[in-house]
């Protein structure tokens, strides 16, 4: 039973890797003919969806998380007179860890589900097979723009998440701890090292790639009609969230 599960997990993992290789090869072939790897309009449509469309959710969740983090750490540190550490904790905590992680989780739920459902519906309607039958290359035409959009947009959204969290933290620090915005800003920036920012950005590229790959893979391997779309979408979100958390831990283990 456990052996079967491990075997299946490795099969899926290798298929995801092949999906990435296949997509890169198809896109490369097209570029070798002096063409763009995919339609620019499709790419921008996906960036708008994954990026701009996700901003309100990410800002809201991160703002509240930043606020809560500052409130709780302020509450714990105040008896020791160490509340001046709050800006640094929020800044480092979000830039290195919570920003990429929360953005990854939100994107997996929002964009991962959308990619899987969309591609899955296209598979069921034989649209993917039709694109393949025309020789257009379904991976290049459908997967590549989605993958690149989520890959490039995740770090941008992480920055948005970090800024929103710092704003939330600054506001509650002013209200509860009497800390000025200027002091909060200066202390937060002073606490950050370049590698903190780089780690967060590097991680978020990886998360974007994982979310895109898992979502597209689940969508393209769908089975069983409309019920299959629902099932694959759920599995896609759960797998992507688990993968983001697992890779985050792995990344931290390697880096520290």
């Amino acid at each position: 039973m456990a052996l079967d599960w491990i075997k299946r997990a490795f099969q899926h993992l290798s298929s995801v890797v092949w999906l990435l290789i296949g997509t890169a090869r198809e896109a490369g072939d097209h570029m070798a003919r002096g063409r763009l790897p995919f339609r620019a309009s499709v790419f921008f449509e996906q960036t708008d969806r994954a990026g701009v469309g996700s901003i309100p959710l990410i800002v809201m969740v991160s703002w509240f998380l930043g606020l809560t983090m500052a409130l709780l750490t302020g509450y714990e540190l105040r008896p020791y007179g160490q509340e001046r550490l709050v800006p640094g904790l929020v800044a480092v905590g979000f830039t290195r860890e919570l920003g990429p992680l929360m953005t990854g989780i939100m994107l997996a739920a929002r964009i991962g589900a959308a990619f899987t459902a969309e591609l899955g519906t296209m598979v069921i309607g034989e649209e993917v097979e039709a694109i393949e039958a025309m020789g257009v290359g379904a991976l290049r035409f459908l997967v590549a723009p989605r993958l690149l959009a989520v890959f490039l947009l995740t770090p941008c959204l992480v920055v948005v998440s970090d800024v929103a969290a710092l704003c939330g933290g600054a506001l509650i620090s002013k209200m509860q701890l009497g800390m000025s915005f200027r002091y909060f800003g200066h202390t937060a920036l002073d606490s950050l090292f370049v590698h903190d920012i780089l780690d967060g950005v590097l991680k978020s590229f990886l998360f974007g790639l994982l979310i895109g790959l898992i979502a597209c893979y689940k969508g393209l391997t769908i089975r069983g009609g409309a019920a299959g779309v629902g099932e694959a979408t759920t599995t896609s979100v759960v797998t992507a969230i688990a993968a983001v958390i697992a890779f985050d831990s792995l990344f931290n283990l390697i880096r520290f």
Partner: protein, 247 residues
């Protein structure tokens, strides 16, 4: 001179179930080869083997003398650009309108200028009498209209072979006849070779120049429509009786 399409002794199994068992077929230039069979008899698998979406486990499939399974990825993609496929439910890309669906293979695979693409799209839409639907989305079309757009899309790159997967399936009898007439009309105008899979004997007898009866993965009878009418094969007889061709 090669046949346009040839299958030699093709075997294909899926999940240990034999779908095709020693199937041999041949379509010469201008032929309309109809493969008949009940649902689940492996008809659509034949089309996917020709396109190289599925590969035979034994035997070979040839397109213009080239063995499909031996083609490299790039060659396979080029070969698919020379074949048109009409899917059972048209399989139009739902996010693109009719014009963009037709222009898709031309824009993606050729260097034709935009005005020429526009001209080809208009020409093919006129061929299937759907000029007025050019800017409509697939969701706004009826089943018959979708099928006609699917046919127009399969024709835009002037294919050497066109594959039809159940062209009359899911359509009312009147629209089914219109589609059959359209296939005959296209064949007369373009002399394109066609492989058509269907379960409808009446439609098959009308459009075929060559027919093959597929049962449980095997070709059990083949010949011209007249030869099929005269066939003593039990399955062919059943199909003829169901179509009202025999009492």
């Amino acid at each position: 001179m090669h046949p346009v399409m040839e299958m030699r002794d093709v075997e294909f199994a899926f999940d240990q179930k034999k779908i095709l068992d020693g199937v041999s077929l041949r379509a010469e230039q201008g032929d309309r080869l109809v493969v008949l069979g009940t649902s689940g008899s492996g008809k659509s698998t034949i089309l996917r083997q020709i396109l190289g979406i599925l590969h035979p486990q034994r035997g070979s499939v040839f397109f213009q003398g080239q063995e499909v399974a031996k083609l490299e990825r790039r060659q396979l993609s080029q070969m698919r650009g020379r074949i048109g496929m009409v899917f059972q439910y048209a399989a139009l890309v739902s996010s693109l309108n009719v014009r963009d669906n037709l222009a898709l293979p031309l824009e993606e695979l050729t260097d034709k200028p935009a005005d020429e693409i526009e001209k080809i799209v208009d020409e093919k839409l006129a061929l299937v009498e759907l000029t007025e639907a050019k800017m409509k989305m697939p969701a706004e079309l009826s089943g018959g209209m979708k099928k006609r757009v699917g046919i127009a899309r399969a024709l835009v790159h002037e294919p050497e072979l066109i594959l039809f997967d159940e062209p009359s399936a899911g359509l009312d009898p009147v629209t089914a006849v219109v589609i059959d007439d359209l296939i005959l009309d296209l064949s007369a105008k373009t002399n394109v070779t066609a492989v058509i899979v269907t379960h409808l004997m009446q439609s098959a007898l009308k459009i075929a120049t060559q027919m093959a009866m597929l049962n449980e993965g095997k070709i059990v009878a083949e010949g011209t429509p007249d030869e099929m009418r005269a066939s003593s094969n039990e399955i062919v007889q059943d199909f003829l009786a169901a179509a009202g061709e025999k009492s």
